[in-house]
């Protein structure tokens, strides 16, 4: 579609133009994309409601949990937008930019611990993944596990007690061989992503538009 072509070409061209018009145009279009994103979120919320409301309506097993989702969603939107800081008329609250105390309380005491704990699960998963899969099956797997073990030892004082130059070994691995592999990936990724972008801008690839 022409609109995608124009937007894409503009973004490439503006990169090479230092003029204020180019930088302002760049920011303008990014703002536009954010506005479109805001509308798209309505679709997302529509989908969320449909998924959970369907299960509640059909009394599918465990529909109580779906009610939890919808209620907590409503609570957060109420606290953040409809109630706001709790001052002024509903119209004033709707256009309030600062967050109310209730909204912050919910965020700090519900979302933050959930986020942090979900993230912390990784401590367990990283251990079990290492245990299950670090097997010296062949050269590749052996290289993977030996490097991982050396690097892990390089990070704790005990590594130094085993071999006093462990931190240097760690440093060398991180700065040279590991960088080589990573850089190879980055080069390939750059080539692949640029080619894909070109295909999209030129309209050779249009399956994301259903065609």
């Amino acid at each position: 579609m022409a609109i995608g072509f124009i937007a894409g070409v503009f973004m490439i061209v503006q990169f090479f133009v230092p003029h204020a018009v180019a930088t302002q145009g760049y920011e303008l279009l990014l703002d536009w994309a954010r506005i479109i994103g805001a509308f798209a979120l309505v679709l997302g919320i529509g989908s969320l409601f449909r998924t959970h409301w369907d299960k509640i309506r059909r009394r599918r097993s465990g529909y109580g949990y779906n009610a939890v989702t919808l209620l907590s969603f409503g609570l957060m939107v109420w606290a953040g937008i409809l109630y706001g800081t709790g001052e002024g008329s509903i119209g004033q609250r709707l256009t309030e930019v600062q967050d109310g105390a209730t909204f912050e309380w919910l965020f700090n005491n519900v979302q933050v611990p959930l986020d942090a704990t979900m993230f912390a699960l990784l401590a367990f998963f990283i251990a079990s993944a290492a245990y299950r899969t670090f097997r010296a099956r062949n050269i590749e797997a052996t290289l993977l596990l030996v490097t991982a073990v050396i690097v892990m030892l390089g990070r704790v004082p005990i590594g130094e007690m085993i071999y006093d130059r462990m931190p240097d070994v760690y440093e060398w691995i991180m700065q040279y061989p590991a960088v080589a592999g990573k850089r190879g990936i980055l080069f390939g990724v750059a080539l692949g992503s640029i080619a894909t972008s070109l295909r999209i801008i030129l309209g050779i690839e249009r399956s994301h538009l259903g065609g």
Partner: protein, 242 residues
């Protein structure tokens, strides 16, 4: 902590509760609820998961409303509602507003094809932006970092030169692993094999280097439970004992 003084008293069913303390209990309960996932799926985790989805989706809506919809669209069209009431309305934002509305055409099956326009715009925009960015940060910067003296001549330390040579060979071999249009046999077979070795070293290093960061996250939760929540429990117990 300092928040203690600022928090309000809540009275629920005759029990006087401090919102700060209530928050700590809630945080602790949700921490345990998520950790219970490690034992297996259970109603407590399921509850926490559904709560998490609802709260975070709600949070997302509030943030988009306050940080995108209001300042970028509504205050531009109706400045009298916003922080700078004197400013003139900017009707150009009607263009993205219209594109956004086309997105909503999805709700009307007959016109849902209209949503292709905003999608084409967004995808085209970011595709275009990504091309020079990829060249700059992934090609040029990385290429230059690889161009180092690879022989211990002219005052270059041989160890450093050898390390740089390893990086150079490693990058080249890794690139040949990604070569698609020829079978990996003969020389290409050898170099791509060495390339995989370098990849594996990189992955092993990445894995080992991340363990510490991930354990720190768990330590963070443990510290919360031990040093923020536990003291509150002991205070409560003491109060009840008296």
């Amino acid at each position: 902590m300092g928040e203690l003084q600022q928090s309000n008293q809540l009275i629920i069913m005759g029990l006087s509760l401090n919102t700060y303390v209530l928050g700590l209990w809630l945080q602790a309960a949700l921490t345990f609820a998520i950790l219970s996932f490690l034992i297996g799926d259970n109603p407590v985790y399921k509850f926490a998961e559904h709560l998490f989805v609802g709260i975070s989706a709600g949070y997302g809506v509030v943030i988009v409303w306050k940080q995108a919809a209001l300042p970028l669209l509504i205050f531009k069209l109706l400045p009298q509602l916003g922080p700078t009431p004197g400013e003139a309305a900017n009707y150009w934002v009607l263009i993205p507003g219209l594109l956004g509305l086309l997105m909503l055409a999805r709700f009307i099956p007959r016109y849902d094809w209209l949503s292709r326009y905003p999608i084409a715009f967004t995808v085209g925009l970011f595709s275009g932006a990504s091309i020079p960015a990829a060249v700059q940060t992934q090609l040029l910067e990385q290429a230059q970092a690889t161009m180092k003296p690879v022989l211990g001549l002219g005052g270059i330390h041989w160890g450093l030169a050898l390390s740089s040579l390893i990086v150079l060979l490693g990058v080249i071999c890794t690139l040949t692993y990604f070569y698609f249009s020829k079978p990996h046999e003969g020389t290409l077979g050898v170099t791509s094999k060495i390339g995989i070795w370098f990849l594996m070293v990189a992955f092993g290093a990445g894995f080992g280097n991340t363990v510490m960061a991930r354990l720190s996250l768990l330590i963070g939760r443990v510290e919360f439970l031990l040093y923020e929540w536990m003291p509150v429990i002991s205070v409560h117990f003491n109060n009840h004992m008296q």
